[in-house]
């Protein structure tokens, strides 16, 4: 893992001292809210529906046990004993008080964490594949590049007042677990003739106008990467629209100018940018790489196979929540935060401490937060899996539902968010509980439901196999359903199925959809998404709107 240098520590200490003084000046009346707001946003502090909210970056989703334990301490001391993991690999505290926030930031700095650029029109927290450094099929660990981008983008003087927020994601695998095609810039690290470089996608994004990113360059060698990124963001900074907030993201710039025109601008900008870099970035990348060296893996599986064969609960947990690791005696373990009826992404401080203990005791002291709002133990030895399962079960963290219908992404929605137009969390809770009652989810198999409480799409509903979008229709919560979205390497935006549903109708509608799928799939190996692709939307629409289907038939 990246270890902070003296430079990083000094920078953070100074930045936190500045913010502490800004908070004091806001409280004593020297700063108006208009003056203070951009300052607090730069430091991740929002004012939400019921309280302030502090959004803390977990860069590329990676943290260690002591960091997780500190997050738990902060939750207990200054919040209500829990935190919320988000779809951008951040953690949000929902109840901080303004006076306490500088102390919270200092506590974060003690473990090399911060909330800088988790808001505002800047380059946001850089996200990455949550299986980075562990996945069997990975080309290269994306995190050194992500850390390099974090350092380059933090307080970058040219990019503090972009037209709009700017999100970068990096993957080093062709599985693309980082949803790179839905980011302002998506980087896919690839190998060509023995050299690692990045395929650069630009102009992806969800929200009001969902777009899949387009390939700007199919191979940028690593020594060119930062100057190339700088050229792209600089072109956007000047070319992007500032007359209309809803047309300000780079996806609109790309859409309106065309990818070829953007490429022409970037290519024209690149040489001057490249000339300003003297290779220090590559020297830094080498140092960062050393920090991300893989742990020394130990051979042997112990009694894993015996437990696996004789304990069906353990077997189901292993089958559902683990993925292949690059070392045969290890797995990647996904810990679901989505016990049926729980709030997706929430972890109590006790749960955080259990996860920290497990990471430190058994799993090379590494944890990840996924954009799917789960916690990953990326290097889990098979020989410890049984003990870990028992410890997780005691903490309510052993739900075997990863990738299944109850593993729902849900934004905070109108239970917390000031921008939301409807609630998301209780919709997710009710769907998960329904399918638990029906005992159907393992039969249904892989199915991603994603729920957003407004058009901004933090819940990634556009790329859910089933997407749910909560809206305000004439003063009543109303939920639109989209079908066939996919956030994988060949990302697809889902299609709207038809008229929305009332809050009390959503779960029934989802059950009808899923039952229709079970009726029409070829066999258990054909997933919901495969069936949708084979048959199209018609049979699913008929299930969603049975009255209309009847009328059509009459």
């Amino acid at each position: 893992m990246y270890a902070y240098t003296d430079f990083d520590r000094d920078f953070l200490a100074e930045r936190n001292a500045q913010f502490r003084a800004q908070v004091e000046r806001r409280i004593d009346g020297s700063l108006t809210e208009d003056e203070f707001k951009p300052l607090r946003l730069m430091n991740g502090l929002y004012l939400q529906l019921h309280a302030y909210m502090l959004r803390v970056a977990i860069p590329y989703g990676t943290l260690n046990g002591s960091q997780m334990r500190q997050l738990a301490m902060i939750a207990d001391r200054w919040d209500k004993g829990y935190g919320h993991f988000t779809t951008r690999q951040n953690i949000q505290y929902n109840w901080p008080q303004l006076r306490d926030v500088p102390d919270m930031l200092d506590a974060l700095a003690e473990v090399g964490m911060h909330a800088i650029q988790t808001s505002g029109n800047t380059i946001r927290n850089v996200t990455a594949d949550h299986f980075a450094g562990a996945a069997a099929e990975e080309v290269t660990d994306p995190r050194p590049v992500a850390e390099l981008i974090r350092q380059w983008s933090t307080d970058h003087p040219e990019f503090q007042f972009l037209g709009r927020k700017f999100k970068i994601a990096v993957t080093g695998s062709d599985q693309d677990r980082a949803v790179t095609a839905a980011h302002d810039i998506g980087l896919r690290l690839v190998e060509r003739d023995g050299e690692i470089g990045a395929m650069v996608l630009v102009g992806g994004g969800l929200g009001r106008t969902p777009m899949i990113g387009k390939i700007l360059n199919d191979f940028v060698a690593l020594p060119d990467l930062l100057p190339y990124l700088e050229a792209v963001v600089a072109v956007y900074n000047l070319l992007g629209r500032r007359d209309n907030k809803y047309k300000a993201r780079i996806k609109i710039t790309v859409h309106e100018n065309g990818i070829d025109e953007i490429r022409r601008h970037v290519d024209a900008e690149f040489p001057a940018r490249k000339a300003a870099f003297n290779g220090a970035d590559m020297a830094l990348l080498d140092q960062i790489r050393a920090d991300f060296a893989a742990p020394i893996f130990e051979d042997g599986q112990g009694a894993f196979l015996t437990h696996y064969e004789h304990d069906p609960v353990f077997r189901s947990f292993v089958d559902t929540n683990t993925a292949p690791h690059r070392h045969e005696d290890y797995v990647i373990l996904t810990v679901s935060t989505k016990a049926h009826g729980a709030t997706p992404g929430d972890a109590s401080s006790d749960q955080m401490r259990v996860l920290a203990d497990i990471a430190e005791t058994y799993a090379h002291d590494e944890l990840r937060i996924s954009h799917e709002q789960n916690v990953i133990l990326p290097h889990m030895p098979k020989r410890h899996l049984r003990a870990v399962h028992a410890a997780l079960a005691k903490a309510g963290l052993a739900t075997a539902n990863v990738g299944l219908i109850s593993d729902i992404i849900a934004c905070p929605g109108m239970d917390y968010c000031a921008l939301a137009t409807a609630r998301s969390i209780p919709v997710a809770q009710e769907i998960a509980e329904r399918f638990e009652e029906l005992k159907l989810e393992h039969e249904v198999g892989p199915l991603k439901i994603k729920i957003s409480g407004c058009i901004n799409a933090c819940g990634h509903h556009h790329v859910g196999h089933i997407g749910i979008l909560g809206l305000d229709r004439a003063g009543v919560e109303n939920y639109q359903i989209t079908l066939g979205g996919d956030g994988g390497p060949d990302a697809v935006i889902g299609e709207r199925a038809g008229p929305g549903f009332a809050y009390t109708e959503v779960t029934d509608a989802i059950e009808r959809l899923v039952r229709a799928y079970l009726d029409i799939r070829e066999d258990a190996s054909e997933t919901f998404l495969d069936t949708y692709r084979r048959l199209g939307a018609a049979p699913f629409k008929a299930a969603l709107y049975p009255e209309e289907a009847k009328a059509d038939a009459a």
Binding site: Q429, G475, V476
Partner: protein, 99 residues
Amino acid sequence: MPRQFTPKVVTANALLEGDVVYLDPQGHWTRNHAEADLIEDQATADIRLLEAQAQAHEIVGAYLADARKGPKGPEPIHFREAFRTRGPSNYDHGKQEGL
């Protein structure tokens, strides 16, 4: 004919805690919607909002929200404002805590 005026309350968030607050008839901030001043005409609403915005040392983001008379005092009309009187639906946190 002039459009019928929907009565309003002035609401905001407290500067220090972020908690939802309402302007009461005496011009003080209350945490309880039922104690809010229910404003019956646009001109008064505009003035009360300006007065509220002038209290930036106490509150953030004042605005007018639709409300109606209820048995215990003003009640919210829109579901967003109803949520703001209680707190989130997934935990017993916020104003509903300890009620």
